[in-house]
Amino acid sequence: MEIIASLVAFFALVAAWFVLPSAPPALQARAQSVPEALATAA
């Protein structure tokens, strides 16, 4: 029973990784501003 539950839990995580977004739009926007900040700092 524990083994089945642990298999289910693991595959639930794996499935979640493919449903979750690669990077939320807000973070993508922030991400795009960082190279500019890096360039400015340099």
């Binding site: 083994i3 298999l7 690669s22 939320p24 960082v34």
Partner: protein
């Protein structure tokens, strides 16, 4: 366990600063992913009772470590708890797919990396480990010698790296002319040092006891790594006019790779010759890779695939029962058959790993694009895949 984070530092220092986090993450994530996969089904496939007596793969009777307790299993290690053997083998299972990540660094989509790693561990590493080390595995029964993973770990990862780099294609930097120099060489040296230290656990630990064989493997490991580093440094100095720091670390890793299958079978003098030989051959392989249109970003094939092949074949030359009475002599000790057996193991590992990796990548690509977009690649994987930066501008 230290080796895989060490590999993360080694690879992380070699890439550009916009990709360092994603590269370190590959190693760290695999440590977590395979730790669970191994307990659930990986160990059973690799080391479980042989399925139908074919010598191809273990069955699933040890799924979830069912029946794998603290009582020793005499088929593998009669003097240590079975779970200790299992968790020792886990570390090999962890680092092998992590090694491949150097080939597709700076361009692989994180979700594709996850799926690839899980499938590769299950359908490439686990069967191959069974062939060589599993009770009833066909290469083990044939008499193939692989003390700590020259075939199982390094040939499999190196050949798979070459296939992965070929399937993914070249980084856009190779057409734009963008500089691809290592961003942090001290990090590379740190990673190399951690790998070297961890390798003692792999090779000496493969004696599965604190005894003379473990000491022999320890001495051989250190000697071959040192000799290979010195040799690579000398070749690159003669070739490029400077004693490269990165070159010395690459040489050390090549030496560690080549001595891995031989560590418990050869004399210290032979380990010096293996260290010399592997740097000569692997340096040539790096130059060959330069001429190929395959962008193996961190030379995984040249160092691990070729280095592992050198080590496996050298085992067939230098192995002696004077070091390990339970093994076999090599060609230089009057047993040419051993070299033939080693060649069969090498060819089998090359073909199996290469074909299976190609198939797995094509399957993954059906569900998740293997590569990031050009825009994401230009931005760097740290930002595009993880929305984080390694070094804050503030």
């Amino acid at each position: 366990m230290l080796m895989t984070p060490g590999l993360g530092f080694f690879y992380g220092g070699l890439v550009r600063r916009k990709n360092v986090l994603s590269t370190v993450m590959h190693s760290f994530f695999i440590l977590c992913l395979i730790s669970v996969q191994w307990v659930l089904w990986g160990y059973s496939l690799a080391f479980g009772p042989d399925w139908k007596g074919l010598g191809i793969i273990g069955d699933l009777s040890w799924i979830g470590l069912n029946g794998v307790g603290v009582k020793p299993n005499a088929d593998y290690a009669a003097t240590i708890p079975h779970q200790a053997y299992m968790v020792f083998q886990l570390m090999f299972a962890v680092i092998t797919p992590a090694l491949i990540s150097g080939a597709f660094a700076e361009r692989k989509r994180f979700k594709a990396f996850i799926l690839f790693s899980l499938l590769w561990a299950t359908f490439v590493y686990d069967p191959l480990a069974h062939w060589v080390w599993g009770h009833g595995g066909w290469l083990g029964k044939l008499g193939a010698l692989d003390f700590a993973g020259g075939t199982v770990v390094h040939i499999s990862s190196g050949v798979s790296a070459l296939v992965a780099a070929w399937v993914l294609g070249r980084r856009i930097t190779h057409t734009s002319g963008e500089d691809v120099e290592p961003h942090d060489i001290p990090m590379v040296v740190l990673g190399c040092a951690l790998l070297w230290f961890g390798w003692f656990g792999f090779n000496a630990g493969s004696a599965l006891a604190a005894n003379g064989l473990a000491v022999s493997a320890f001495v051989n490991t250190n000697t071959a790594a040192a000799m290979a580093a010195l040799t690579w440094l000398t070749i690159s100095w003669a070739h490029k006019g400077v004693p490269s720091v990165v070159g010395a670390t690459a040489g050390a890793v090549a030496g560690l790779v080549a001595i891995t299958p031989a560590a418990g079978y050869v004399t210290p003098a032979a380990s010096i010759l293996i260290g010399l030989l592997v740097s000569l051959v692997c340096y040539g392989a790096v130059m060959l890779r330069d001429k190929m249109k395959v962008d193996d970003a961190l030379d995984v094939w040249a160092v691990h695939g070729v280095g592992g092949t050198v080590g496996a074949l050298a085992t067939g030359l230098f192995a002696t029962t004077a070091i390990n009475a339970n093994a076999a002599n090599g060609l230089f000790y009057g047993n040419p058959k051993q070299l033939w057996i080693q060649t069969i193991a090498v060819v089998s590992a090359w073909v199996f790993s290469g074909v299976m990796t190609f198939i797995i990548l094509k399957v993954v690509n059906v569900f998740v694009p293997l590569r990031v977009t050009e825009k994401e690649e230009a931005m760097g994987l740290d930002l595009s895949q993880h929305s984080e930066v390694a070094y804050s501008p503030s």
